[in-house]
Amino acid sequence: MTTAVETIRDTPLTIGGHPFHSRLMVGTGKYPDMDTMVRAIEASGAEVVTVAVRRVNLDRSKETSVLHFLDPKRVFLLANTAGCYTAADAIRYARLAREAGFNDFVKLEVIGDEETLLPDVQGLLEAAQVLVQEGFKVLAYTNEDLVTALRLEDAGCAAVMPLASPIGSGLGLLNPLSVRTIKRRLHVPVVVDAGVGTASDACVTMEQGVDGILMNTAIAAAQDPVAMAHAMRLATIAGRTAYLAGRMPRRDVAMPSSPTKGMLD
C-alpha cells in the first residue's frame, strides 16, 4: 500500500486473511438518495462497505435493496447485525447475511441500550463464540474496554471494533488512550467504528495507530456527502501517514525553531 508520500510504505490492512486496499470503511445508511450514496462511496475510496439485513418490502413498487445500486464485484460487502439486542438475534441475522452468498464476514453488533446504542458485551461475546465456531470472520463492534476487546480476540474474532463515541453522535474520538491501549494489546486488527463527526476526527483516530476506521453518518449526514467522503479519504491517509511518520514528543515549554547563535550584537 502506498500512502500520499512515496517514501512511506504501508502494509495492506488484512482481516481474516483478506487484504484490503483502503483503511477507510463506510456504511450505506441514511443517505439522502442512492445516487449520492454511490458517489460518496466512490469518493471515499473505501473497499469495505457495510449493509444491513432487513425484510424485503412485499410491495414490489418500492425497490429497497442496496445491491440494486452497488456492484459486489467492486466493493466488499460487510453485513452487520445492527438492530439486534440479543446474541440469538445477532446470530440469526449473521446466518441470513452469509446465505446471501458474498462472504463469511460479519460486523457483529449486539446492542444493550436503546438511548446510547452501547454494546451488550456479554451478548456480544456469546454471539462471537458461536459465529466463530460456524466459520464466520467476526468483526466485533464493542466499546473501548480493553478486557472485552481481549476476550473478543480470545473468542477468535477477526477484528475488534471499538467505538470512538456513540453511533451517529459525531462526537469524535472521546477516549484515545483506551483505543491506543486496545491497539497495543491486541494482535488482530483494531478498526475504530462509530462516532466520527468530521475529517479531523478520522485523522486523530488514525494517528492512534489503529488499523482502520469505519463510519457512516459523518459522511451520509454531511451537507455535501460526496465532498465529506473525499475529506475522510484524505484524513484517513493523513492520520495513518502521520502515525507511520512518528510524531515529535510533546513539550510543555517552547523550543526555538531558528538558531539561537548568530544573532547580531
Binding site: 456504511g27 450505506t28 445508511g29 441514511k30 443517505y31 450514496m37 457495510t50 449493509v51 444491513a52 439485513v53 432487513r54 425484510r55 424485503v56 412485499l58 414490489r60 429497497t64 435493496s65 442496496v66 445491491l67 460487502l77 453485513a79 452487520n80 445492527a82 440469526r92 446466518r95 441470513l96 447475511a97 446465505e99 446471501a100 453511533i167 451517529g168 462509530a194 469505519l214 463510519m215 457512516n216 453518518t217
Partner: protein
C-alpha cells in the same frame, strides 16, 4: 375458487396455494430468488432447496435482503 392456506410472510398474513413450494411463493410475490434469503419456520432454506420445500398452514416465512446500514 381454489382453496388457499394462511401463512405469515414478513409479518403479514398471506394466502398461498396448498402444497405451494417456497419457489412458487417467491414467484407469486414477483421476487427474484437470487435476490432474497428465505427463512422458513426459523430455518434458512438455501436457494437450490426452495423448489423442494412446501408451505403449510400457519407457516412463518421471512424474506430478507441487504439494505443501507452502518
Amino acid at each position: 375458487m381454489t382453496p388457499r392456506v394462511d401463512v405469515v410472510i414478513n409479518g403479514e398474513r398471506k394466502q398461498v396455494a396448498p402444497g405451494a413450494t417456497l419457489l412458487e411463493v417467491l414467484s407469486e410475490l414477483e421476487l427474484d430468488p437470487r435476490a432474497v434469503v428465505v427463512e422458513h419456520n426459523r430455518k434458512i432454506v438455501r436457494r437450490p432447496a426452495l423448489a423442494d420445500v412446501t408451505v403449510a398452514e400457519g407457516d412463518a416465512i421471512e424474506l430478507v435482503h441487504f439494505v443501507g446500514g452502518g
